[in-house]
Symmetry: C2
């Protein structure tokens, strides 16, 4: 199987709307931010391939018996939400949507339609109304009708501006328009309420500093109103970037775990290339689970596929790197599933790590690995981490609604200069260990310098080196003065 | 009974430490902020007088049978916390405290020692350790060992600076030093952790704007570390401001409700003078409760007695005003208890109103009246309310841990110009209603102008007029150049 992926380079704040690929059959957009795209084939083997589950999308009114229930862990709210309408209804829904007042979605709004529609945010059935928004903002959880709580740490909301609000008027439903101009969904029984951006940012990030990537990309340019309601997705969201086969829904993942007869699923969220320290940790976790008596623990290696900040390694490069890690046997393909988690990234540390864990409950994972400073980043304006690196795992371990998920704290791995390999850090001989941060790793790759032997499998490292070389060439070209052809 | 109270006037940001009254028998400080104090007798009747409950403070190791359990509502965690050591132990505890490393408390820290020590924050048994702090900050609640949640929306923490941290070293316990230099409490099994002020402010207030009163008074000048632990209060906190008799603990309040054979207690938190709109609401609530079948609903009129911002009406003036409201029969003394809630004010809107409600659960109230924009204020730098005025009651109604408290939403009262009285606002004839805000009321009183007849009972209004006149005189005097006597 050949995968066509794209070459990226950094053009800060270029609007991605220009990169729309129109496709009549699918709601489609390219999954890049601040990038210029030049399609090339960069890898041609696919050790990540899995049996694509041929589950037809279920109508919202469909038979409840079709609902996928995992034996390992119940989805939040007991029922996995699936808001993609059945094929037979799509024509009529599209006609109806076209007749409604319209809300134009941004690229990241569409990612959220994808996330909500497939049930990653179960039991959420649409963009949040004010009651849900306030609970999320203040309590990081939602109360169900039976009185129990489910975790919901990030407000999943849709912003509109004054003009759109005016056009909606007193209509109860609206059509949601994708990047190609087609209606991708209907939002029903809507509620419009004020979008206090400062409060949303302060309560979600615990700071109002400038330079927060999601804030600058999404919140600051957005409208002063939020619109909530019940979502009906007219057809599955596709990106046509050669990676759609890796975008398995929670339902499909649960089926795959069943097919593999998993008796434990441990999820590893990441937005970086996999080095041997990660691999050590994942393999060690599997070993621990086997020692605990599980017969067939399956690793869900689950790279985040939505919005990431400009200097993160792009999704397609990461996916190629992950494929090399499996090809090289650093991780075992037989007990590993690599698929894409479609959520955009907030970089909201302890608040966001709850979302990352909660969504994996819905995908059927009953163990979650949490590391140092999950969903964190450097403070945009100060020389320190934005979050206390220990707060993520502490908050996660105490979060309401996540009690049923078993949290596996990350053991710190570092490069052992005595053994020339990644090993669990031993503080009694700390001078023998070398810490290679993401920033340092990227600096190595960018400069063409090799990291110490044993840091990452060579074929995986080569993917990064190639990426940064291309990036450099493109950056140099972008700095050339434009010459008009005469 | 004569009550000696104090005359206030505004000296912005004058540090209150200068106003300490040393008293060998009691941990004592005057309860004023930004004020200069001149004791005078300003009222001489006391319709608020209630039977002072002669309950001796219970040792932490005391008999569990002595614990006050209300038949109306259980304290959070099932047991009312009481951390004031028994009289017999005080000498020994004081000697021990003096031998420990010391933490010097601010005026507001002492208010928190009072609050925690009497069990208003039950089941909290001391200043928060990091686990409690993080749960409060992220979830507005604490998980108990049995898995249930109690509400805890404000971080109740004690800040120390680098120097104090250094002096504490590896000690497990510290002595807490009051404003007069005596140890007022011991904090045991301490934990010291980072005080990220920006994150605390952002998550508590939903903004990091300048001009937040509690932030400027307490957080900004405080140290970079928080110290948590188990509190032992060496003796009851007293203020010696003539109002200590009105400072009933949750235990004493529960006993008083029992004594009065209350079958419902409805709490009304306030930090402003009581006008006839408030009275209408409280009387109407009582009527509603009677109609619901309760035989003897008791009103807990519960003015906040801790830190308030400089332009709020001071506690002693408010207490005198409340006394007039009862003397005049606007509220019925037989079914009303007026006592002081010792907490400092955060002005943190929807986050703080949860604290106000939760503390009243511990005091035995099973109904809580919530109004428009509770614990709110104007935005310090923008022309708008800091919080959406409806968010307080919405958040309160959904808050984890407050399910057992019945929330009574405030019906808006305004001045009915047809009837010349405060009445419930009728939007169908809104032009006949006049809204008199707290700011407008203060402006009337300050200018000596009377508000419309029927807005407030004349004797209560007179208290405010007298206060603002004194304030004006003092302000004028403060502007005179100082003359040295020769």
């Amino acid at each position: 199987m050949f995968l066509t992926t794209k070459l990226h380079f950094n053009l800060h704040h270029q609007h991605a709307n220009k990169n729309i690929i129109n496709n009549n059959n699918n709601t489609c957009f390219c999954n890049y931010y601040n990038t210029k795209i030049r399609p090339i084939t960069i890898y041609n083997t696919n050790p990540l391939i899995i049996t694509t589950c041929k589950v037809k999308s279920r109508s919202m009114q469909g038979d409840e018996n079709l609902i996928i229930r995992s034996s390992l862990i119940e989805p939040d709210g007991g029922v996995l939400v699936d808001l993609v309408v059945g094929e037979g209804e799509r024509g009529a829904k599209r006609v109806e949507a076209e007749s409604l007042p319209k809300v134009k979605l941004t690229r990241i709004d569409v990612e959220w339609v994808h996330v909500i529609g497939e049930g990653w945010a179960s039991p959420l059935r649409g963009f949040m109304r004010e009651d849900e928004y306030l609970q999320s903002l203040h309590f990081n959880s939602l109360r169900l009708k039976n009185g129990s709580l489910v975790n919901m740490s990030l407000p999943i909301v849709l912003a509109i501006d004054d003009e759109t609000k005016g056009k909606i008027g007193s209509s109860s439903h609206v059509g949601l328009v994708g990047l190609d101009g087609d209606c991708v969904a209907i939002l029903r029984s809507i509620e419009i309420y004020k979008h206090n951006k400062e409060e949303r940012i302060a309560r979600t990030w615990g700071t109002t500093t400038s330079g927060l990537p999601y804030v600058e990309e999404v919140i600051t340019p957005s409208g002063n109103w939020l619109i909530g309601g019940d979502l009906e997705v007219i057809q599955p969201i596709k990106y046509n970037d050669g990676l759609d086969n890796y975008r398995l829904s929670p339902k499909q993942l649960r089926q795959e775990f069943d097919r593999r007869k998993a008796d434990a699923v441990f999820a590893f969220q990441l937005r970086n290339p996999v080095h041997n320290g990660h691999a050590l940790l994942m393999n060690d976790t599997r070993k621990q689970l086997l020692e605990m008596g599980y017969q067939n623990p399956i690793l869900l290696l689950h790279p985040l596929g939505g919005f990431t900040k400009a200097d993160d390694v792009p999704l397609d490069v990461r996916m190629e790197q992950h494929s090399k890690v499996l090809e090289d046997g650093v991780l075992d393909p037989k007990t590993t599933i690599v698929t894409i988690f479609p959520s955009p990234m907030h970089y909201a540390g302890p608040t966001e790590v709850q979302w990352h864990a909660k969504a994996r409950i819905n995908a059927g994972a009953n163990f979650y690995i949490v590391g140092r400073d999950p969903a964190g980043m450097g403070h945009p304006t100060e020389k320190r981490d934005l979050y206390d690196p220990d707060h993520g795992k502490k908050v996660l371990s105490m979060a309401p609604g996540l009690e049923k998920l078993k949290i596996l704290p990350f053991r710190v791995a570092a490069y052992d200069t005595r053994e020339n390999k990644m090993a669990f850090f031993d503080p009694t001989c700390s001078k023998d260990f070398l810490f290679i941060s993401g920033t340092k790793m990227r600096a190595y790759a960018r400069s063409g310098e090799n990291p110490p032997d044993g840091f990452m499998c060579p074929s995986g490292w080569n993917v990064l080196v190639k990426y940064y070389k291309r990036l450099q060439v493109e950056e140099e070209q972008a700095q050339q003065p434009a010459v008009l052809s005469t």
